[in-house]
């Protein structure tokens, strides 16, 4: 049974069909790359799965539970976390706090707990901090030393890392990464590829990533899915998809030798 199963998903915005009858699945411990030209519906797909949009048709199941009608915070609680195309951290909160906020859906302390700080609340706070540091620690020495700095003071690549750390700290099983390699130089991209691999190998995450950078997709994905005009046009290994005529046509508009 797949971890995430999407069938016949359709979403229209007025006259535009952004996502058209898409079938899509992700298995436990799998890394799936999603590619397609701009406007193909990739981010919309993410938005629907994470509860920001309601689909017009179709089914989505995660861990055997339906995602239909769930709000974003409920989706997170089930175990799906995402990053955004434009990095959206909480800029005025510290690195550590950004990672701590991720655990909101797994913790309980409310107003009374905040004011009285009983033993249960204190224990919970300690746990939150530990888990946050653990998530930060996954990135070696990049984030931990800056734990008390404001998130906005990090370098671009570190901010990407922090966004992923924050997604990790939600206790998710599936990570949706939206163009994680955007704006990175080649060596940073290599690091990213290794990182995503480690996410699967060391922490057993399933990962779906939207990417435009083909080498990254090639090196990191177990499977690749291609979208065009909202429809899924290919699903297979990288080489299968890369040589698929429809995919080539979608990117280049004509028969052409792909120069990846």
């Amino acid at each position: 049974m797949s971890l995430l199963e999407v069938t016949g998903l359709t979403k229209r915005f007025g006259g535009l069909t952004a996502v058209d009858s898409v079938d899509f699945h992700v298995d436990q411990g799998e890394i799936v790359g999603v590619i397609g030209p701009n406007g193909a519906g990739k981010t919309t797909l993410f938005n629907i799965v994470t509860g920001f949009y309601d689909p017009d048709e179709g089914e989505m199941r995660f861990d055997e539970k339906s995602l239909l009608g769930l709000k974003p915070n409920q989706v997170t609680k089930l175990g799906i976390a995402r990053t955004f195309q434009a990095i959206r951290l909480f800029p005025a909160m510290t690195v550590l706090e950004n990672a701590m906020v991720g655990q909101h859906c797994r913790t309980r302390a409310g107003l009374l707990g905040a004011v009285f700080r009983g033993p249960r609340t204190r224990a919970e706070e300690r746990q939150i901090e530990e888990r946050a540091r653990d998530a930060l620690g996954f990135f070696g020495n990049r984030l931990i030393p800056n734990a008390d700095e404001l998130a906005s003071s990090l370098s671009y690549a570190d901010r990407r890392r922090l966004e992923i750390a924050r997604a990790m700290s939600t206790g998710a099983k599936l990570l949706l990464l939206d163009e994680p390699a955007a704006g990175m130089n080649p060596s940073e991209k290599e690091g990213l590829v290794k990182l995503i691999g480690r996410l699967r190998d060391e922490r057993n995450y399933a990962v779906v990533l939207i990417e435009h950078d083909m080498p990254v997709v090639k090196n990191v994905s177990d499977r690749v899915v291609a979208l065009d005009y909202g429809k899924k046009i290919a699903d297979g290994t990288y080489s299968e998809v890369a040589s698929n005529e429809r995919v080539i046509e979608a990117y280049l508009g004509a028969r052409h030798e792909e120069s990846a």
Partner: protein, 581 residues
């Protein structure tokens, strides 16, 4: 800007004109005349004169301030020619003012500008003729401008010493209503009086010199030591630092507890009002500062607190409930929470400025209903509700200012404690996240609806607490006390103090609520000064006086990080999640 264009003559012209216009503005709006009634240094200078002095000094100072040379080095001292240009600025300012006097003297401006009275003209010409005033102001302007500019000839430490000593002396004089009783009581214990220090509503000549010199000496010699001291404190381990901080707070609280013994009844009352506004400020701080919900109708919760208390307790109310305080306080807070949620529920989805206007609307609706004849049977209409008896603990009746002060002080400490705890908790983090990026916060599992309502409810509860005290303090509830100015007052004080920071709120309350009560001359121009302060703050220092560290960076980072972050408005308006991909 072309570096060549930042030339001294132009600066002199610019600052001179600005200073002149500002001085004339103060005269024309009525401040100058009113302020001449207030002595700064006995028989030397009044507050009205001081306006001229201050603005010209500042003009000269600004002209001479060293600016970046083409070589990109900012020198820390100016060269002597700058003094001449400072003088020039002063002359220009003086001329503008004198020109105004000439015009005012020949044309009867009073037909239109009510503040330009003969009395004003006389005062501004120091009893002489307008022609002599022309000379006086030009020469005086030149001198003052030169002095302001020559500050930059000194080295930094000396310069700062003089400035701080000067400002302290002025503030000391303005603070006379507060300082005199305190110092008199204190000095009496060592058999000294204060008649040599204060005289005629301000400092005496001797007093002014003493204050100036003392401050200068203290600052000059202790600044260095202070820096070292702070450095060493920073190096101490966390536990000891915390201990020092707690110790300082305890000392402060002890001082506050002892304070009424040093003050008159009037001052205790003023402090009580300040305390009320601190509670209001802390409450609104949670709504705006933590949760990012711009509420311009906060006065509604104050009204709810006061009116509910009045209805439940008053001996003169038609319902004749006459409950005890033990019962009515929890019920009042509960009612406020319910109303807070009722107000919050419909506005959950609204974007920042729309939310502001809607809450403004709610506040106004509350005010109108409270005054209306329609609601008179319950709310007392324009007369309000009278007969609110004082609460009593056993035999101790809490009616006079001193006892009220203690009650309010305890409440303030409690509310501050709650605010601090909330800020550093999961709830506080959730609010912060929601304020900064609502969509992502929701993706993190934060229920936006829940936390917005929680913010409104908490703000409502705290506002109503203030309302309870308000009713007790006055013994009655008057309908025209609950207008939008109160909401703006509270907003102004948390912005001035620094949004999101608790010491900031406290400082803001003291400055914006305490000072006008002490400085009667300012009271007439209170709103004018508020408005100017708000605008100036937003233009130059939006993070306020005592900002929380993060807020400062948040506001300044935004301006430079715009390329890497889409501009997201605080409080709800965000970039849509849809992108083309």
């Amino acid at each position: 800007m072309d570096k060549k264009k930042i030339s001294l003559p132009r600066l002199a012209l610019k600052f001179g004109l600005i200073a002149g216009v500002v001085i004339v503005y103060c005269a024309v709006v009525g401040m100058t005349e009113r302020f001449t009634g207030r002595t700064i240094v006995n028989e030397v200078i009044s507050l009205g004169d001081f306006l001229f002095v201050a603005f010209v000094l500042v003009a000269g100072y600004s002209v001479a301030k060293p600016r970046a040379l083409p070589g990109d080095l900012v020198p820390d001292r100016a060269r002597p020619p700058a003094v001449a240009y400072g003088a020039l600025a002063g002359v220009i300012a003086g001329l503008v003012t004198a020109l105004f006097l000439v015009v005012a003297n020949s044309v009867n401006l009073r037909l239109v500008l009510v503040s330009v009275t003969q009395s004003l003209i006389d005062k501004m010409s120091y009893g002489g003729s307008v022609r002599s005033a022309l000379v006086f102001m030009t020469v005086g302007g030149a001198l003052l401008g030169a002095i302001g500019a020559s500050l930059w000839l000194l080295r930094e430490r000396a310069r700062n010493t003089l400035i701080i000593a000067f400002v302290t002396t002025i503030l000391f004089s303005l603070g006379e209503p507060l300082l005199r009783p305190i110092l008199t009581t204190l000095l009496l214990k060592v058999r000294l009086t204060t008649t040599w220090l204060f005289f005629g509503g301000g400092l005496s000549r001797v007093g002014a010199v003493v204050v100036f010199v003392t401050t200068a000496l203290i600052y000059y010699f202790w600044k260095q030591r202070g820096g070292e001291f702070r450095g060493r404190v920073q190096e101490l381990p966390e536990r000891q630092r915390k201990g020092i901080r707690i110790g300082a707070v305890v000392l402060l609280i002890a001082f506050l507890l002892y304070l009424p013994n040093l003050l008159t009844s009037f001052l205790a009352e003023v402090l009580g009002t300040v305390g009320l506004y601190i509670i209001l400020g802390l409450g609104l701080n949670i709504v705006i500062g933590y949760a990012g919900l711009l509420d311009l109708g906060y006065v509604a919760f104050l009204a709810v607190g006061s009116y509910t208390t009045a209805i439940l307790i008053s001996t003169r109310h038609p319902f004749e409930l006459e409950w005890s305080y033990w019962m009515s306080i929890p019920v009042t807070i509960l009612v406020a929470i319910v109303i807070g949620i009722m107000i919050g529920a419909p506005v959950l989805r609204l974007r920042g400025d729309y939310l502001a206007i809607v809450t403004l609307g709610f506040g106004e609706i509350a005010r109108i209903i409270v005054i209306s004849d329609w609601a008179r049977p319950v709310l007392g209409g324009a007369q309000g509700i009278l007969g609110i008896r004082a609460p009593a603990i056993g035999d101790l009746e809490i009616r006079d200012p001193e006892k009220l002060y203690y009650a309010i002080l305890i409440c303030v400490l409690l509310v501050a404690f709650i605010s601090i705890r909330l800020a550093a908790s999961r709830v506080g983090r959730a609010w912060n996240a929601m304020r900064e990026d609502e969509q992502v916060a929701e993706a993190m599992g934060i229920s936006i609806i829940g936390y917005k309502l929680l913010a409104f409810a908490t703000g409502a509860a705290l506002g109503s607490i203030s309302g309870i005290f308000f009713a007790i303090k006055l013994g009655s509830v008057f309908s025209n006390s609950f207008n939008i100015i109160v909401s703006i007052n509270v907003l102004a004080l948390i912005i001035l103090g620094g949004m999101g920071s608790i010491p900031g709120v406290i400082a803001g309350a003291f400055v914006l609520v305490g000072l006008p009560d002490l400085l009667r001359e300012f009271a007439d121009f209170r709103l004018l000064i508020y408005g100017a302060i708000l605008v100036a703050l937003m233009l130059f220092k939006p993070e306020g006086l005592i900002p929380s560290k993060r807020r400062k960076r948040e506001l300044h980072e935004r301006e430079s990080e715009e390329e890497q972050y889409e501009d997201r408005a605080g409080g709800g308006g965000t970039e849509p999640v849809i992108t083309t991909s």
